[in-house]
C-alpha cells in the first residue's frame, strides 16, 4: 500500500463544467457572481464582473459574429452512420440519437455561409455539447465541404473550434478526418484564400492537431484550454501536477502558437479587420 494517498483530486481544467445552466439567474463558474441571464446574453456570455467566458454553442456564436439573419446553413441534417457498430457502455447509435434529441443538433459542427458587416465568409462552428465536440466522419465531411465552399466561392474561411478531439466511436474513420480536412486546407492555401481559426474552450486532441492549428491566423478566447494531450493524460505520464496556466490560451500565446487572444466581445470587430487585411482588394 502507498504511504501517501491523495484523497482529494486536484482540480484540473478538464473537470470544470462551464456550460450555462437553464434558468433566469446564472452563477458565474469563476467568481460566483449571480448574473441575470439577459444581462449575460447582452454581454456575449461573459461575466461582467470577472470576464469569465462561459462556454457557448454554435447558435450563440452565429448571433455574436455574423450579420443578423445572414447565416445559411449547409448539410444541416448530415448524421453519423455508426460504421463500426460501436458499443461501449451503451451503443453508439443510441448515444447519437439521444444527443440529437437532447441538443437539437445533428452533430458537433454547424457549417454554412454568412456575412460579417457585409463581407461574405464560409463559417463553421463546433459544439462541445454534442459528444464533447468530438470529430467523427460527419464533422470531417461537413468541414471538408465548407472548405470546398470557401475554395469555389473564393471567400474567407472561419472555423471556431471547441472539441475534445477525434471521436473514439468511429475508430480509424475519425482519425482520417484529420487527414481529410488538412488536405482540403492545403488546396485552399494553394489558392491563397484566407483561413482564420478561432480556438475556444476546450480545443484538444485531433482537432488541435489538424485544422485548428492550420489557420493563416490563429486566435483564441481568453483562458481556453488548448493542447494536444489532455491535462489528465499528461499528469498521469509525468506523475506530477501541472503548472498553473499550462495549456491555457495565454500559455500558447507566450510560446508562439497564437497570433493573439481576443475577448469575445471584440471577436466580430477583429474578424472584420482581419478579413480586410487578408483579402485581395
Amino acid at each position: 500500500m502507498a504511504w501517501f494517498k491523495r484523497i482529494k483530486q486536484n482540480i484540473s481544467p478538464d473537470t470544470q463544467k462551464s456550460e450555462i445552466p437553464d434558468g433566469q439567474w446564472v452563477k458565474c463558474t469563476n467568481c460566483n457572481e449571480i448574473i441575470h441571464r439577459k444581462q449575460l446574453e447582452t454581454n456575449s456570455f461573459v461575466c461582467p464582473k470577472c470576464d469569465f467566458h462561459f462556454r457557448i454553442g454554435s447558435e450563440e456564436y452565429i448571433k455574436i459574429i455574423l450579420d443578423h439573419g445572414s447565416f445559411k446553413e449547409i448539410n444541416k441534417t448530415m448524421k453519423s452512420g455508426d460504421p463500426l457498430n460501436f458499443v461501449d457502455t451503451k451503443p453508439y447509435n443510441s448515444r447519437i440519437a439521444s444527443t440529437i434529441s437532447k441538443t437539437g443538433l445533428f452533430d458537433a459542427v454547424k457549417t454554412g455561409s454568412g456575412k460579417i458587416e457585409g463581407r461574405r465568409v464560409a463559417f463553421g462552428c463546433m459544439d462541445f455539447k454534442f459528444i464533447g465536440g468530438s470529430m467523427g466522419s460527419v464533422v470531417g465531411e461537413k468541414l471538408a465541404r465548407l472548405i470546398d465552399k470557401a475554395y469555389t466561392s473564393k471567400i474567407p474561411l472561419i472555423i471556431i473550434s471547441q472539441s475534445g478531439g477525434a471521436r473514439m466511436m468511429e475508430g480509424a474513420y475519425s482519425l482520417m478526418q484529420m487527414a481529410k480536412t488538412s488536405a482540403r486546407l492545403a488546396r485552399l492555401a494553394e489558392a491563397k484564400i484566407p483561413y482564420i481559426s478561432i480556438l475556444t474552450d476546450p480545443t484538444t486532441g485531433g482537432t488541435t492537431a489538424s485544422y485548428a492549428m492550420l489557420g493563416d491566423i490563429i486566435i483564441a478566447e481568453p483562458n481556453a484550454l488548448i493542447g494536444f494531450a489532455g491535462p489528465r493524460v499528461i499528469k498521469q505520464t509525468i506523475g506530477k501536477d501541472l503548472p498553473e496556466g499550462f495549456q491555457s490560451s495565454e500559455f500558447l500565446l507566450e510560446n508562439g502558437f497564437l497570433d493573439f487572444i481576443t475577448e469575445r466581445k471584440e471577436l466580430r470587430s477583429k474578424l472584420v479587420q482581419l478579413v480586410d487585411y487578408l483579402s485581395n482588394s
Binding site: 448530415m78 460501436f86 466522419s137 468511429e170 488536405a183 482540403r184 492549428m213 494536444f228 499528461i234 510560446n255
Partner: protein, 316 residues
C-alpha cells in the same frame, strides 16, 4: 533462453521445445516419424492459433518486444542508409529516424518511428513516442525529398505522440497538423507502412500517403485500446472489449477502405523470422514504388486528396 512469450503462444512453444528435446535422441532412437508427426502438429496448431487471433491478441503481437522496428528493416530491406538528424529549429528527436536510403535501384527518403529494445534504449528512443521536433525533422526531410524529387517511405510504429510538458510547450499539435497539410500536397510519391502500432495522431503525423500498407499483425486507430477503455468504460479493465469495438486490425482497416494492402507476415509474426519479413517487405515496397513512379506529381496530389476525401461514413 526464450522470453517474452505471449499467453496464446505458450502451447506452441511447449510443443516446439518437446521436439527439440526429442531431436537430441534422434540418432540413437528411431523416433523420426514421431518427430515428423509432432512437427506437423505444431504447424497445424500455429495455423489454427494465428488464423483465429482476437483483436486484442493482434495488438499484443504488434507490441511484441522482439518485433522488428524501423532500423531492423532498414538493413534488411534497403541497400544503403544515410541517417540525417535534427529539425534545424531545436533538437534531434531519437523517436523518429530518417535519412536517404536505396531500395534496389531507387533512391528514397525513409522516415520511421523507432522504439528501443531494452530499458536503456527505450529511454533513448522515448519508447517510440515523438516530440514536436521529431515531426519537424520529418517535415524538413520530406520537403527536401520533394525538392530533389525523391519518393518518401514512412514506417509507423508508435504508442502515440509523447504527452509531456515540453511537447505541449513546443506545439505537439501544431507539428502534427503541419505535417498533415504538407504531406497531403507533397509532389513526390509517399508510401506509408504500419509495421507495429499505429496510435492515433502520433502515427498519422507521418502517415499520409498514396499507398497505405499494414503488416498483418499490426493495429491502427484513433486511440489505444487501454486509453479507450479508461475513457469510455472509466476503467483500464476493458481493453479487450475496446480493441474489439475499435476494429483496429489490418483486415478491419482494409474493409473500411482506410488502407490499401495487407503485407503478410511469416507464420507466428514478423519477429519469428525478421529476415523473411524483410524479403517480403522489400518485394512489396518495390512493387508499390514502381507503380507510383509512373504517375505524374499533379495527379498523385489530386488522387491523394480524393483518397482521404472519400474516408468516412455518414447519412444525408
Amino acid at each position: 533462453m526464450i522470453k517474452n512469450i505471449l499467453e496464446f503462444e505458450k502451447p506452441i512453444i511447449d510443443l516446439e521445445s518437446k521436439i527439440d528435446e526429442m531431436r537430441k535422441y534422434e540418432d540413437n532412437l528411431d523416433i523420426k516419424d514421431e518427430i515428423e508427426k509432432l512437427e506437423n502438429k505444431v504447424y497445424l496448431l500455429k495455423k489454427s492459433i494465428y488464423d483465429n487471433l482476437t483483436r486484442w491478441q493482434r495488438v499484443q503481437l504488434a507490441r511484441h518486444p522482439e518485433r522488428p522496428y524501423t532500423l531492423d528493416y532498414i538493413y534488411r530491406v534497403f541497400d544503403d542508409f544515410l541517417e540525417l538528424h535534427g529539425d534545424r529549429l531545436y533538437k534531434d528527436d531519437k523517436a523518429i529516424v530518417a535519412g536517404f536510403a536505396r531500395l534496389g535501384e531507387h533512391k528514397v527518403m525513409l522516415i520511421g518511428h523507432q522504439k528501443g529494445r531494452d530499458t536503456k534504449s527505450n529511454l533513448y528512443r522515448n519508447f517510440g513516442m515523438p516530440n514536436p521536433e521529431g515531426y519537424r525533422k520529418a517535415l524538413r526531410l520530406m520537403k527536401m525529398a520533394e525538392k530533389f524529387n525523391v519518393p518518401v517511405i514512412t514506417m509507423l510504429d508508435t504508442p502515440g505522440a509523447y504527452p509531456g510538458l515540453e511537447a505541449e510547450k513546443n506545439g505537439q499539435a501544431e507539428a502534427i497538423a503541419r505535417n498533415l497539410l504538407v504531406m497531403s500536397a507533397l509532389k513526390v510519391p509517399i508510401i506509408v507502412c504500419i509495421i507495429g502500432e499505429g496510435a492515433s495522431g502520433g502515427a498519422l503525423g507521418i502517415g499520409i500517403g498514396d499507398r497505405i500498407l499494414m503488416l498483418e499483425n499490426t493495429w491502427y486507430s484513433v486511440i489505444a485500446p487501454e486509453s479507450c477503455s479508461s475513457i469510455l468504460w472509466r476503467s483500464w479493465d476493458y481493453k479487450e472489449q475496446a480493441a474489439e469495438a475499435l476494429k483496429l486490425t489490418a483486415p478491419d482497416l482494409l474493409e473500411q477502405g482506410i488502407i490499401d494492402r495487407i503485407v503478410p507476415e511469416p507464420l507466428g509474426g514478423a519477429h519469428k523470422n525478421p529476415d523473411e519479413m524483410g524479403i517480403i517487405l522489400k518485394k512489396v515496397l518495390t512493387e508499390e514504388l514502381e507503380n507510383l513512379l509512373k504517375i505524374k506529381a499533379d495527379k498523385l496530389v489530386k488522387d491523394r486528396l480524393n483518397k482521404f476525401g472519400a474516408m468516412g461514413v455518414f447519412e444525408e
